[in-house]
Every structure is written in structure tokens, then in C-alpha cells.
Symmetry: C2
Subunit: 493 residues, 2 copies
């Protein structure tokens, strides 16, 4: 078996022999192509099974499927089965169950294993990034630009309050209650400001509430929060590094974000009909989908190079293309693409979450857990109140708006990563931030569902339903899953 | 600009600082995540634009769009614009226009550039491999297992004749006409036996002929040819390396290929209803598509580890799932996924094709071009006659069956790669094989379309149409594009 090799296998091993030029590159050994592909296939199989098992279990107990995808990721990830582990969190090929399986099923030797592991991890990482890009593109397509502009001022207030309230309360509490030094206190406060737009948007979409006014305020506020978060992170990081705040840098970030979003919307309005005309003239397979992805990827790239996030560009592309007559057709075609890419993102986030900091039997975790309890309280209350800043619209479910801003997700983990790398955070503060991020991320989906359901239950069954509580919920759950789907269908058309 | 960085950017740079464990891995410097993503986005934009521009142009002059995708790949690839070049063919980051663009638009420095280039090339390579896997899965779904089994004996004859005829004629000609030594002559003969199932299947699908009897014979023969090719390559490679043929190895390959295909079909028949039952019990988004991809990726992985090709596993998965009641629904959902993945494969193949060997003004190319002319003749005639080995079925378009086997594609390039790496081939023989592969690959799609069109034209317009020739073709072209699409739709339902 070690002698006969498949074609691509041969090609790769051969081309690296026959191309001495390659040796001048720093990392000379190109990993074996067949083995990388085999590793990627195994990883995708694990990701899809984890996402479906988790999603189905959660949907059966009336929780949002995306929570199940995150939990499925935790199960196959670094905290449990170690099927999906990543070199950038310190894992080696020997830690990965998938690499062990590959070594046993192919002629992979331990020396090669490290480079195959890195290559396949790189591919899965990029697939997960493409996953959240396509998710935000789909969210943009399902959003209503007019409605977003209409709720813009309200979203801005929600975003600003949702950033200031947890930041001030968190930083002050750590300074005066826990006697934490200024820099780590500011850092932890900054981590409290983040919102994971991906998780929130996915839950809203699953609940069929994306196009509701609350949904659009949440999405608008989350987008603004994302931009504010980039600014805050830049401020805090430069504060830690240089001890001062670079005002020019902040102005640049704010101005480029504003110019980008407004510019895309204005230019998009003019070019939308041109896009439709171009696609209508084409007659090969996949014309609409591919041209739409060219727009989405181009804007994602532009957003990246002006220091924003790729997902903001993809969201803007979705918003602009949703204004064209191709919206419905495009939504139908993007849907299966999102089905295969988006779970990679959520399982990836779950797989990278290290739950060991939650174990109270490890003495060093305890100080962190106490700090975490405080941070979680501030994280939930600080965001929850932000919805109540909207005055004079009694028909809005204001609590749901604040609750929608709760999950910190991958954005919060970035804050924790920056903090721990800067050396400014003590181990317990670092752990406390991670625990806060995990808890807000995993609690937000069921909480959001609960808040929206309360609202739905009240007009139908009056106060009597509150007596039966959980019982009523489980009875209505199966029919509601159906309703939710129908609502989504209706929103699309 | 060099100071403020986007989030993921920060996370990546930080985690590599804070994780000293990483340094123990051989290739310690993990490339910057944001930059790899940016490189992948730029590459995908280039791939999609190249595939659509090429595909649209070809469809307008009545050639199969897939030829345009290959040519689009040539234009953006190593032979022309150098947007898409790959480290495993000796390219450095500085050769890549995309890397140059990245360096100019971000804070990427030249030292980092090499690792970012390798990582993004690895991702695009895997995406192209996933592309051909999904293509063959889709082809399997659109194939008819009963029909394939029925035409099995005919396909086997076509495959065997299509392997033996070019091999014997090519090797003998090189030995006795051109006085080439035995080993390189055998190698060149072996390269003549390959068939690119991907290109043939895609053209058949574009012509709406996949489900026709001719189409099923071609697909069946191409699958068998793929297996024969793996065996031949193993034989020739071991002949060159050790001077002898390892019989055990050959028996292993043949037995495992047969056991795999037959095993999957038998097991699939039993588990098909179980698959449908499982999917019907699920209620989250993407259930059918994800579970089907789990089956396809699992069989692709199994095919890889038993030394077959991943695409054979994906094809078998498609065949098996096509037998279930979910076929139509699955085809609809796989279609957009194929739309975004498959062009990556064809553009990738085109981009890696180095056309410089075709330049007759380079003196060293001339000997190769003369040899190539002979190989091309044998390559076309040797395959074209294979269809005529089917007796007693006058209604079959036998020429189209042989023509369908002509494209050598990526499989032929692997033979050339193995040969050049073994050192057994002279430069001119190596170049001649590459020219033969390029020409058969690019000529087969229009030839196949022409052969099928001749047949369609004859009953409708009689011999009179032959007088007007090209004129008639261009007149009917626009209506035929429509017809082809309708035919495909009908085949699906």
C-alpha cells in the first residue's frame, strides 16, 4: 500500500521533487495534496454531523438550532472529542483525532503530519470565514434597506447605549469593587461592548423575525456595534501598547466605515439595474449566483483592506442586491450555499471554545469565575437596557432588542485574545472574560426565543398562559416550528 | 494604516505570540488569517469572472461553456495574466499578481507574503478538488444506475479498446518511427490512455445528453477508464522505478476498485430508504443537502484511502442517492453548490496549463511539437474508434462515444508530471505529452458538440443542410441553447 499512490498524490510528490525553485521559499515542504484533501473531507464530515445532531436536538427541545451547532462544535472540538482542533490555539497534529485517523488510514508519516494538519486547518478556517461572509450576505439579502434607514436613528441609540452602559458599569465595577488595575479593567470593559452579529442574525432568521421592525433595529444596531467595536479595540490596544490614544487613527476608522457603508448604498442604487441587465444578457449556468458572489466578495475584500471586517462588506452587498428585482431568485440560490458554508462557521466557533475555564474544581479558575459572574451580570443587563432607550413606540418589543445584542461570540473572543496577548490581563481576568463570552453567546439564542415567544403568547392566550408557563410552551412548540418556517417563506416573497 | 488592524488580523497575530507551543511545529509562522482570506477572496473573484467571461463568449460562438472556463483559466493563469499561479509549479509570491495586489493594498510585507501565498494557494487547490468532487456527485445524481448497469458490458469494451488502441499505436509508433527508447515510449503510450471524466461529463451535461444511452456509455467507460488509468500509472511508475511489474499491487488495485463500486451499489440499495427516513425525521434547514454531502464526502474519503480517487467515491454516492425518492429535490439543491464550486476546478486546470510549450518560435519546442502531432493523431483516432466496437446497435451515435473519451485533461497532466519527475522522459517527449493533453482537452468539447449536432441536424434537414454547413449552425445556435436547457430540465424530472 505504501508503494502505489493515487494520481494527485503522485503529482504533488513529484512536482515538489522536480521544482527545485520551491526550496527557496521559506516553508519548503508542500504538504501532500491527497492527504490534505482527505483531512478536509474528514473535517467537513465531522462538522456536518455535529451541526445536524446539535441542531436537531436543540430544535426538538425548542431551542434555536444555531445553539445546537455551537454545542455540536464544542463536542467535536478542543473541549471534548478533539476531532477539530487548530494549530493557532497551540494544538499539534498528534492532538487531532482526525490526523490520528488519517495516519492510521493512509501512509502519512508523523513528520508530514504537521504540515498536512496546518494546511487542512487553514482550509477549514477559511471555509468558516467564507461561512460567516455568506451568512451576512444572506442576512443582507433578507434585510430591507428602506426599513434599516428608517430605523437608523433608533439603531444608533441602541448601539451607543449598548456600548457605553456595559463599558462604564463593567470598568467601574472592576476598579472599585474588585480593585483591578486600570488597564485590565478598561480591557474587560471593552470586551463587554462587543456583539456577535452572526449569532444574533442567525437566531432572528430562524425565528422568522429578521424583517420585523425589532429584527431590523437589532441588525442595524449590531452592524453599528461592529464598527464601534473595531474603533474601541483600536483605542484600547493602542492605549495598552503606547499609553496614549491615537486620535488620527480613530478618526480614520470612523470616517472610512461611514464612507464605505454610505458609498456602497449610493453607488449600489445606481449600479443595481446595470447588474440586472448584465445578468439578463448572460446565458450560462449559475450566472446570477456567481455574479452576485463577485459583488459580495469584492465588497468583502474592500472592507478588509480599509481595516473594516469582511462581513460588513458582504452584508452591504446583500443589502444592495436585495433592492434589485433578482432578490427572490438570488435568495433561493444562496440558500443551499449558505446551508453548506454557515455550519462550518458555527461549529468552528464552538470547536475553538475551551470550556476548561468553567471547571470550578480547578482552584485557579475560582477567582475568574467570581469575576465572571459580575461580568455576565453587567453583560446581560448592560445590553438588555439598551432597547428601552427607544421612546414612544409602545408596540415594539424593547426587551427583545436589548436581548438581541447580548451574544459576544467570536468578537468577544478576539477582545480576550488581544488582552491576553498584550500581557495586561491577569490570568483570572482573562478567564473571566472568556467565561462571560461563552455564557452570553450560549444563553442569548434561547433567551431571544423566549422573549419573542412571551410576546406571541400574550395576545393569544392572555395572562392565563403565564400560569401554565413551560407546559404551554412545549405544547405549542411543534406547531410553532412550522409557523416560523412559513413566516420566513412569507418574508422572502 | 500599519498600526490599526482588523479584528481577526489581531487575533491571529496575537495567538501566535501567546502560544509558545506553536514554535515547536516545523513551520512555525502561521500566516496572517485576514490576509489569507483576502487572497482567497481575490482569487475567487478572478476565478468567477474568468469562468463567466470565458463561458459566455464560448456559448455565444456555439461552443460548450466549459471550454470557455478552461480558456478563462488559461488567461488568468500561469500562461498569461499570472493572477492565479501556484507554488507547486515553482511560482513564488512575487510571481502572483494577486499577491502583488495584496501587498499594495494591505500591510503585508514580503517575508510574510510567501506563507500567505502558500496558504491561499492551498485553499484554492482544495476548493478546486471539492469542485470536481461535487461535479462528479452531481453527475452521479443525474445518471441512471439501471441504465449504467445495462450498458456496462458495452462501456467495458469501449474503455478497454480506448485504452489498448492508443497505448499500442502510440508506443509502437514512438519506438519504430521516432526511435524513442522503450521506457519513455511506454510512458507516452500510457499517457495516451487517460480520459478526463470531469470534462466529458460536464460537456454532456451542457448538451443535455447525459441521460441518453450514448451519454451513459461514455460515463460508464470513463469511470472504468479512470480505474484502468490508476492501474496503468501504478504499473508504469513501478516499471520505471524498479524495472519490474509488481503483480500483487495491480491485483490489489483492480480488486479494491471492483469491490468498492459493487459494494457501494449493493449497500446503497439497502441503506437508501434508511437515508430517506432519517432526513424525513429531521426539521432543520439544509437537512437533505448536508446529509447527502456527508454520504458523498465519506465515500470520497474511503475511495481515497483505498488508493482510488475521491471523485469515484463522490460519483458512486450520487448514483446511490439518485435511486432514492429525494433525487429531484437533491438535484435542485446541489445545483447552486455546483455552480460555485465547479468553476473553481475548471479555471484551476486552465490556470495551471503552461501554454509556452506550444510556441514554435522557441527552437527547443519544435522537436516536441512534431512528436506531439503524432501523439495527437493517435490520441484522437485511438479513442474515436473505441465507439465503433459496439456491434448491432445502429441507432447509437458511435462516433460521439469515441469522441467523448478524447479529453485527457488533468489526468493526462498527471501522467506527464510522473514521467518528467521520474527522469525517464526527454524534454521533447515531456513537452509532446503536455501539448497532446492540452489539445485533446480543448478540442474535445467543441468536437463533441459538433458530433451530436450533426446527428440532430440530419433527421430534421436531410443532406441539404450539409451544403450550407457553418451557416446553418450559426442560425440554429440561439434556439438550440434554449432547447438544450429544456432538455436538461426534462431529464431531471
Amino acid at each position: 500500500m505504501a508503494d502505489a499512490t493515487a494520481w494527485v498524490n503522485l503529482l504533488t510528490s513529484i512536482s515538489s521533487q522536480s521544482m527545485p525553485l520551491l526550496a527557496t521559499a521559506e516553508e519548503s515542504e508542500a504538504p501532500d495534496g491527497t492527504l490534505v484533501l482527505a483531512g478536509v473531507l474528514l473535517s467537513l464530515i465531522a462538522i456536518y454531523i455535529a451541526s445536524k445532531v446539535g441542531g436537531e436536538l436543540c430544535s426538538r427541545i425548542n431551542l434555536p438550532p444555531v445553539l445546537g451547532e455551537l454545542l455540536g462544535g464544542v463536542v467535536v472540538g478542543t473541549s471534548a472529542l478533539q476531532l477539530l482542533v487548530f494549530p493557532d490555539t497551540g494544538a499539534l497534529a498528534s492532538d487531532s483525532l482526525i490526523m490520528n485517523l488519517l495516519e492510521r488510514s493512509t501512509d502519512l508519516n508523523p513528520e508530514e503530519a504537521e504540515s498536512v494538519f496546518e494546511a487542512q486547518s487553514e482550509v477549514i478556517t477559511v471555509l468558516s470565514e467564507l461561512g460567516v461572509i455568506i451568512l451576512l450576505f444572506e442576512i443582507g439579502l433578507e434585510s430591507d434597506l428602506q426599513e434599516l434607514i428608517r430605523v437608523g436613528p433608533q439603531a444608533a441609540i441602541v448601539a451607543v447605549v449598548g456600548v457605553i452602559a456595559p463599558f462604564v458599569a463593567g470598568t467601574a465595577g472592576l476598579l472599585y469593587i474588585f480593585d483591578i488595575p486600570t488597564v485590565p479593567a478598561v480591557f474587560a470593559g471593552a470586551a463587554l461592548t462587543a456583539t456577535s452579529i452572526g449569532i444574533t442574525a442567525k437566531v432572528l432568521s430562524e425565528l422568522g423575525r429578521l424583517s420585523a421592525k425589532e429584527g431590523q433595529i437589532i441588525i442595524g444596531a449590531a452592524v453599528l456595534d461592529d464598527i464601534l467595536g473595531i474603533v474601541i479595540l483600536a483605542v484600547v490596544a493602542s492605549l495598552v501598547k503606547t499609553g496614549e490614544i491615537q486620535v488620527g487613527n480613530i478618526l480614520y476608522l470612523v470616517a472610512s466605515a461611514g464612507a464605505f457603508l454610505i458609498g456602497v448604498i449610493i453607488v449600489g442604487r445606481f449600479l443595481g439595474s446595470y447588474f440586472v441587465g448584465l445578468v439578463n444578457q448572460m446565458n450560462t449556468r449559475g450566472k446570477l449566483l456567481l455574479m452576485a458572489l463577485v459583488v459580495a466578495f469584492t465588497l468583502a475584500y474592500v472592507a478588509t483592506i480599509i481595516q473594516l471586517e469582511a462581513i460588513l462588506g458582504a452584508f452591504a452587498a446583500g443589502l444592495v442586491l436585495a433592492e434589485t428585482e433578482k432578490r427572490k431568485e438570488l435568495e433561493e440560490q444562496v440558500s443551499p450555499v449558505a446551508d453548506i458554508f454557515v455550519p462550518v462557521f458555527f461549529v468552528y466557533v464552538g470547536a475553538k471554545t475551551d470550556l476548561s475555564v468553567l471547571n470550578p474544581f480547578v482552584p485557579s479558575n475560582r477567582e475568574g469565575l467570581i469575576l465572571a459572574a459580575f461580568l455576565i451580570l453587567v453583560a446581560i443587563v448592560g445590553k438588555a437596557i439598551s432597547g428601552f432607550t427607544i421612546f414612544g413606540q409602545p408596540e415594539l418589543n424593547k426587551l427583545s432588542i436589548g436581548v438581541g445584542m447580548i451574544p459576544r461570540g467570536e468578537v468577544g473572543l478576539v477582545f480576550a485574545g488581544v488582552g491576553s496577548a498584550s500581557g495586561a490581563l491577569s490570568e483570572s481576568t482573562d478567564a473571566a472574560i472568556i467565561v462571560m463570552v461563552i455564557l452570553t453567546t450560549f444563553i442569548a439564542p434561547p433567551l431571544l426565543r423566549f422573549v419573542f415567544k412571551e410576546e406571541a403568547a400574550v395576545p393569544a392566550q392572555g395572562t392565563a398562559s403565564e400560569l401554565t408557563g413551560g407546559k404551554t410552551e412545549s405544547v405549542t412548540s411543534s406547531s410553532e416550528a412550522g409557523e416560523t418556517e412559513t413566516a420566513q417563506e412569507q418574508n422572502k416573497s
